[in-house]
């Protein structure tokens, strides 16, 4: 079982191109067009053409099928196409899928993409009122009649338990995460909150959404698209940009795992599925928390950033708020999903690539080892990306 042994994927493939649309409240165009724009931009960045692509990976939630994106971008035959489930948990796993395909020779150039009008179209934050009686629908059905209907409220249930267990207030625990993201976003011209940093007092004064979560604990729902180009490290050598080598890639689901509502297990103070990811990433990359120079940790809601730091072993359980407040690790240097944009985690992978290239707006000098994670509260995934060494 790969969850127990070092896998052989590490170091075989690299992210060689990144591309995105602008991030906005209203893109004014279709999700398919956003996807195609992001894919073309990523290929340009990689120095490749649509004709070079033979694989596509996206999220099961994406509305633009691989075959349609291929047509809209002028791609030819595809030998690999795949989708990953569980919302934002798919982000890093799309890269893992691409790397698996490339490492095994199933495909040579694979583009991962995610595009949506999540702000001007259907917002996840507007909640769920109905589910079909499938097994998946029934799982969420246990909470709907009681009015627990939104992602913020599902996260808040665990966040409340975390605060209780460690004797923290929402302000001291979650405030530093929001302030850090907005500080980085303020310096990022592509960010939604460019030039708009916040203080701890701003966070504390923002209105309740789902107590203990305030408005400033919640990400910025966004219209936009992001794409990533993955190929083998060998082919990467011939391309213009320095590659971001996929030193390790992992998925993880915990015991008694649910989607956003894993309320029935453990103590609700951690993210066991991220623990599964962490064990594999450390084992395969041979790295430890102290080796990581930048952390891009999925932040649709601030509390789960704390739990991720603890699951990865950057600090002990209950200590992450202090860890963030003390700036012990450069975190979400693009501004995160709280500050840059909510692109289902794909913009975070792009930021990791920029850090390794030395082109981030909040560049960590000489960064060569970056951790990236995907959606939290769901079955998830993660990457360790490294500079060619």
């Amino acid at each position: 079982m790969s969850a127990r042994t070092r896998d052989s994927l590490g170091g075989r493939a690299a992210v060689v191109g990144i591309g995105a649309t602008e991030f906005s409240k209203d893109s004014g165009r279709s999700e398919l067009r956003l996807a195609a724009e992001a894919v073309r931009a990523a290929l340009d960045d990689a120095g490749l053409t649509p004709a070079d692509v033979d694989g596509l990976v996206t999220f099961t939630m994406d509305t633009s099928p691989e075959i349609t994106v291929a047509q809209a971008c002028g791609m030819g035959e595809l030998s690999f196409f795949s989708r990953v489930h569980y919302g934002g948990g798919a982000a890093c796993a799309t890269v893992q899928q691409a790397a698996l395909a490339v490492a095994t020779g199933v495909a040579e150039v694979v583009v991962c993409y995610r595009a949506f009008n999540e702000r001007s179209g259907r917002r996840f934050g507007s909640g769920v009122r109905h589910r079909e009686p499938s097994a998946e629908g029934a799982a969420l059905g246990w909470t709907l009649p009681f009015g627990l209907l939104t992602p913020a409220s599902w996260v808040a249930m665990a966040a409340q338990r975390y605060l209780y267990t460690y004797g923290l207030t929402p302000e001291e625990a979650f405030g530093p995460v929001a302030v850090t993201a907005r500080r980085h976003a303020a310096a990022n011209p592509a960010a939604y909150f460019h030039g708009r940093p916040i203080t701890l007092a701003d966070h504390a004064a923002s209105r309740w959404i789902a107590e203990p979560l305030r408005l400033l604990d919640c990400c910025q729902e966004t219209d936009g698209g992001q794409a990533l180009v993955v190929t083998s490290v060998e082919r990467a050598r011939d391309l213009p940009r320095p590659p971001a080598v996929i030193a390790a890639a992992a998925q993880g689901a915990g015991r008694a795992q649910e989607q956003m509502t894993s309320f029935y297990r453990d103590d609700l103070t951690g993210l066991p599925e991220m623990g599964v990811v962490a064990r594999q990433l450390w084992r395969t990359s041979g790295l430890a928390p102290a080796d990581i120079e930048v952390g891009i940790l999925y932040d649709h809601f601030s509390p789960f950033v704390l739990m991720q730091l603890e699951e990865f072993g950057f600090c002990a359980p209950g200590e992450a708020a202090g860890f963030v407040a003390a700036d012990r690790l450069p975190l979400n240097t693009h501004g995160g999903q709280l500050g840059e944009a909510y692109l289902h985690g794909m913009n975070g992978v792009a930021e990791a690539v920029r850090q390794l290239r030395g082109t981030s707006v909040n560049q960590v000098p000489g960064a060569s080892r970056v951790l990236v994670t995907a959606g939290t509260g769901v079955p998830t995934s993660g990457l360790v990306l490294t500079a060619q060494g």
Binding site: P145, F146, G147, S153, R161, A210, F263
Partner: protein, 304 residues
Amino acid sequence: MGDDDGLDDDLHARLKGYEGRPSTVAGAGRDPVNAPMIRHWCEVLGDTNPAYTGPGATAPPTMLQAWIMAGLSPHTGRARPYEELLALLDEAGCTSIVATDCEQEYLRPLRPGDEVTYDSVIESVSPRKTTKLGTGYFVTTRTDVRVGPDLVGTHRFRVLKYAPARRPAKPPERRPRPVVNRDNAGFWEGVRDHRLLLQRCADCAGLRFPWLPGCADCGCPDWDTVDACGEGTVFSYVVLHHPPFPAFEPPYAIGLVELAEGVRMVSNVVGVPYDKVRIGMPVRLEFRRYDDELVLPVFKGVTA
């Protein structure tokens, strides 16, 4: 509310003609001030002021109006001008009435045995106003309450006499439905019978919730059910403020309840203000009907 400016309001001109005219002449309280009515009042309002009990008790001053309410019997002393005013309003469709203002002055306390009399005058009638309830007129009366010759209190009272706004016949908003399928139908059948059924693994005897067709601990597909005893504690909770949803009025509390049997379920914590729900709070199962199709197991907070 707003003035319906510019409307030709003949009715208002006629109503204004009643200003200054009596609404009650020589009215008498139905009963003397008495201890049982005082006790009922204090019991309902949770008023434990010792001044209202025992020898030398006084009546709560705010009961002033209660002593002169007609109740279900005919008004005594209702004056003709006031009857006419009400009739005019009724004819104009302003058939409903709601009180909006009350100003009382208490000159001396009332005591059991005091027999009150009163006289009222129509002080003013407002122009036509539109409110959330409907469109109508504010009528202000002033009442002098006496015991014998002594003025003991005054009572200024404003009511809105209005035509109810027509509300579009909209079906009441309903809560989201449970998601029922072949794997969990037994649970919801139990709820309909006011039973909270947990699955019990036929092999390892582990209890589980939510319902699934196999045991997460040992994988055994066979199971039976046991009734939850209904006792539990709040394991975690959320107070939902935004966004609002039909059939729910934020802020409201949703609890993750750990049952005495060790399993958890999401439900509402009821009987406790949303901001008083706490982790560790004991709760007890009850069943509530929300509409003709929906019964839910909810948990009532047990306060010390």
